[in-house]
């Protein structure tokens, strides 16, 4: 029997759980298991990983039986843009300063919306930069420079 997996909600969830469980177990093999009286660092993680694999198998089996599909499509582009905006922010904050980092964050993340108006985003960036500088740099006294050049 060939089951179509792509779009099968529970089967995919089951596979994900099994994957995470296997990953967790494989890494935990490197930690000492210990004994029941004296639990080692590997005791709890290994048991948990096995339990997770078990739940994964049950979920997978259910998915194969019920074949419920995922509601709506995947919004990969917004997800990618939001993650990219976070990563760019982290990268630029230490190197170019707070204001350029925020500008990058706003321009990249705003692309994820249904509408993108450059002028609006510019105003938003300006307002939020002032706000962030006021709250985080002057208010909470965090040691960030507004502009920098440390590449």
């Amino acid at each position: 029997m060939i089951v179509k997996l792509s779009g099968n909600r529970d089967a995919l969830a089951g596979l994900l759980f099994m994957g995470l469980g296997t990953f967790g177990f494989a890494i935990a093999l490197g930690y000492k298991f210990g004994t029941t009286i004296d639990m080692g660092p590997g005791y709890f993680p290994r048991i948990l990983s096995l339990v997770l694999i078990g739940f994964g198998i049950v979920t997978f089996a259910r998915g194969v039986r019920t074949c419920v599909t995922i509601e709506g499509g995947w919004a990969w582009l917004p997800l990618l843009l939001l993650s990219a905006s976070l990563v760019t922010f982290g990268f630029l904050l230490e190197r170019a300063g707070l204001v350029p980092a925020l500008a990058a964050l706003f321009f990249i993340s705003a692309r994820a919306g249904h509408e993108f108006k450059a002028l609006e985003v510019l105003v938003l960036t300006a307002v939020m930069s002032v706000f962030a500088a006021a709250v985080f740099v002057w208010g909470l006294k965090l040691p960030y420079s507004l502009f920098a050049w440390n590449f």
Binding site: S83, S109, G113, F136
Partner: protein, 504 residues
């Protein structure tokens, strides 16, 4: 009277200028996000967690809890005026609240919603005192094995009673437990799941996880939907409810409060289920059920009382046992841990100013909310015209800056992006995120208690059934699991889930 001394202490703490300001800020923010659909207390609290790090624990918890119960008030405003629930827990209020507004009785509906919320909030807070004190002194006698069993019960109940598939919820608990283990093992000093990164030696930060799982994935989920928000202008009319309205709402408010208080204490259930059940009960009790959906005032009073009571009593297990029942409570507990307070029954004796200060602030906050909500209602409704495309980049900014600021490390921001991706995938696969966060918060405590219990019993597992307390907890957990395997109960739960989704 000892209790009066406690209240004096609590109000002394809560009435300080600083804490009053944080309480006000909390309920103000709560109302704000309660009004705005798509921005809920979970997202807001996870966003603001890093900022509370520098505050004293009392102020942090006062503000965060203000956001939580404030959102329940705010959510009803938009439900009544524009048929748009600001929070899922006020979805039921739309049914009759909006109909009242259409008949020109918006003012009365808003006033009744605020008053019944206030009554329920105060009763809920009194219940925290009434149940919390004996519960905590009982829990002080727990041994390690009892604690472990209690955590098992908390996690199992949260998975079984929550909305949706139980197996997936349980799996998410385990994922959360595993994530919670990352970092240096306290006993052996071995670094687990750190992949050689020095930044992970202290584990995956609580805020990193919460922001990634709740805020980032929530924003993406919202962006999937087409934005259909219009600008509304409405006149509210007289805010004074008539004597008849007050009389008609009196008993429904009390019944709603009772239902909400019950569901609030249980793990896994919360404001949404409470307001739904309270509405159903009123409909059953009414002499003329056909009035419901046509602007029946009981249909506003009961669910609003229920969701506020539930929001308050949810604090009972969190503050007295250290066992959170919902994701929001896990965040509050996380804020305590981050600020150096060891949660559990000893909080009340070791940090009395914290416990009683937070309780006192709830009375103040509930009173502030009535004052904030009724006269300013026009302002709140105007907020709805803010488009989501301005809001979500600002949310992302708070997530990024907040996470960076905790350790001044970009790794935390990268990690948050990665967890955001995981959170989104899990959400699409309908794996509930709340159990994961509960597992994460309880993971280290669970391992520690298990280790201690096994050490004391010299590896004898039977001690979990020899201690009557532990045995009781484990038997209840088992019964809950078995009950879900029974087809009749499972079908019943599926039907309730469906009806609830239908009402929303």
């Amino acid at each position: 009277m000892e209790i009066l001394d406690h209240f004096a202490l609590g109000f002394g703490v809560a009435m300080s200028m600083q804490n009053l300001a944080y309480c006000f800020l909390g309920v103000l923010l709560g109302t704000l996000i309660g009004v705005l659909p798509g921005v809920g207390p979970l997202v807001t609290i996870s966003m603001l967690l890093p900022i509370t790090f520098g505050l004293p624990p009392v102020s942090a918890v006062i503000m965060l809890s203000g956001i939580y119960y404030g959102a329940q008030y705010g959510g009803s405003t938009t439900a009544i005026l524009v048929n748009l629930p600001g929070e899922t827990s006020s979805a039921v209020t739309c049914l009759d609240g909006y109909q009242m507004a259409r008949r020109g009785r918006a003012g009365a509906a808003l006033a009744i919603a605020a008053l019944s919320s206030f009554v329920a909030g105060c009763v809920g807070t009194l219940l925290i005192v009434a149940l919390g004190v004996p519960l905590a002194s009982w829990a002080l006698r727990f041994g390690a094995e009892d604690y472990f069993a209690l955590m098992v019960l908390g996690l199992v109940a949260a998975s079984v009673l929550s909305h949706g598939d139980m197996v997936k919820a349980l799996a998410m608990v385990v994922v959360g437990l595993l994530i919670g283990l990352a970092g240096t093992d306290v006993n052996s000093g071995v670094e687990r799941y750190t992949f050689g990164l020095a930044e992970l030696a202290d584990g995956i930060g609580f805020t990193v996880l919460a922001v990634g799982i709740f805020a980032i994935s929530e924003v993406v989920l919202n962006l999937e939907q087409k934005e259909t928000r219009e600008v509304f202008t409405k006149t509210v009319g007289g805010l004074m409810p008539s004597w008849h309205d007050l009389k008609a709402s009196f008993l429904p408010t009390l019944r709603g409060t009772a239902i909400g208080s019950f569901f609030g204490i249980l793990p896994g259930t919360g404001p949404s289920i409470s307001s739904f059940s309270a509405y159903m009960l009123e409909k059953k009790l009414a002499k003329d059920p056909s009035r419901f959906g046509q602007g029946a005032i009981e249909g506003v009073a009961a669910p609003e009382a229920a969701n506020n009571a539930a929001a308050q009593t949810a604090f009972i297990p969190t503050l007295t046992l250290g066992i959170p029942g919902s994701a929001t409570m896990a965040l509050i507990l996380g804020a305590l841990i981050m600020n150096g307070v060891q949660p559990g029954p000893s909080v009340m004796t070791r940090n009395p100013e914290l416990f009683w200060g937070v309780i006192a602030s709830m009375f103040i906050g509930n009173a502030l909310l009535v004052a904030l909500n009724l006269p300013l209602v026009g302002l709140w409704v105007r907020l709805l015209s803010i488009p989501y495309r301005w809001l979500f980049p600002a949310i992302v900014m708070f997530c990024a800056l907040g996470n960076y600021s905790l350790n001044n490390s970009a790794i935390d921001v990268y990690l948050c992006a990665a967890i955001g991706v995981l959170g989104y995938v899990l959400a699409k696969l309908k794996c509930p995120p709340a159990p994961l966060v509960l597992g994460y918060v309880l993971g280290p405590m669970m391992e520690e208690n298990l280790r201690r219990a096994l050490l004391l019993s010299e590896g004898d597992l039977s001690m979990f059934v020899r201690s009557p307390i532990s045995l009781t907890f484990l038997v209840i957990s088992l019964l809950l699991l078995i009950s879900m395997a029974l087809p009749a109960i499972r079908r019943g739960k599926a039907r309730v889930d469906q009806e609830e989704a239908g009402a929303i």
